[in-house]
């Protein structure tokens, strides 16, 4: 969604073509992200002509401030949906930055790893907006990601297993 997409595209801006093809997964209710992604990839294709990417939508796992119990149900539904997608894509790297959409995808990847089908490296970058507290996705994925990156020193202190590189978006 919105801010998350802008941030993630900035994160991608300096990556080499080793990180290709890129598979973007976002919420079905998100209208603006597709345009931003296409615009980014179009620009990228000007420099790297063999650049490849795909777009996939999954059901949104949680609305802002949705209740706990209904969130569990909608997240389970999103996991059911994202499991076959993750199986199909078999990513080497999952890069996510906080929208609820990333949790089912990461859980699917963890399951595939546990089943010995594909082990993906999960890199989570918490939003620049998070200075003192983690988002809900962050609190969950702090324990399940391979690398958890924060952008402010307060968070590095509170979450010692995190990586602090300064502001990166």
């Amino acid at each position: 969604t919105g801010g998350h997409t802008t941030e993630i595209l900035r994160l991608l801006s300096c990556l080499s073509e080793s990180y290709s093809p890129r598979h973007y997964v976002f919420a079905d209710s998100d209208e603006m992200s597709e345009a931003k992604i296409r615009s980014f990839e179009q620009k990228r294709a000007e420099t790297f002509s063999s650049s490849q990417f795909t777009l996939d939508r999954i059901p949104r796992s949680r609305e802002v401030r949705q209740s706990w119990t209904s969130s569990v149900v909608t997240t389970l539904y999103s996991i059911l949906y994202s499991l076959p997608l993750t199986y199909k894509l078999k990513p080497d790297l999952i890069l996510c930055n906080g929208p609820g959409t990333c949790v089912p995808v990461c859980i699917s990847a963890l399951l595939l790893g546990l089943l010995g089908i594909k082990r993906a490296i999960i890199v989570y970058v918490e939003s620049i907006c998070r200075v003192e507290t983690l988002s809900l996705s962050g609190k969950i994925l702090y324990y399940f990601s391979d690398y958890f990156i924060v952008q402010w020193p307060d968070l590095k202190e509170k979450y010692p297993k995190s990586v602090y590189l300064g502001r990166i978006v």
Partner: protein
């Protein structure tokens, strides 16, 4: 003015920006090097929006106030004390990932 596609042009011409605490608004303004006053409303906002505004204020990049103190802030502010906001460095992220994967 309700929902323009982009405020980039207005931002370019502005001498001072007074904004709510949305991260996108704050960061876009700071990156363009415009002085910024952030008006917060603790009752309406998500707590985490407030976090960024407060940190930017602490670091001297913006002046934070609320609706009732806005006038006073405008009268007493010294924009020359605002510190320039350096852009984020995604190249550091790229470097980090390259090390993780052994691409160097």
């Amino acid at each position: 003015f309700r929902f323009k596609d982009s405020l980039a042009e207005d931002l370019r011409r502005a001498d001072l920006v007074i904004s709510h605490a949305g991260a996108g608004s704050c960061l876009e303004t700071l990156e363009k090097g415009k002085p910024l006053i952030v008006v917060t409303n603790e009752k309406l906002m998500n707590n985490h929006q407030l976090e960024l505004a407060k940190q930017l204020d602490r670091d001297g990049h913006v002046f934070c106030c609320n609706c009732s103190t806005l006038v006073e802030t405008l009268q007493s502010m010294d924009l020359s004390t605002l510190k320039p906001f350096s852009p984020g460095q995604p190249e550091k992220f790229a470097s980090f990932l390259d090390k993780v994967f052994g691409f160097q």
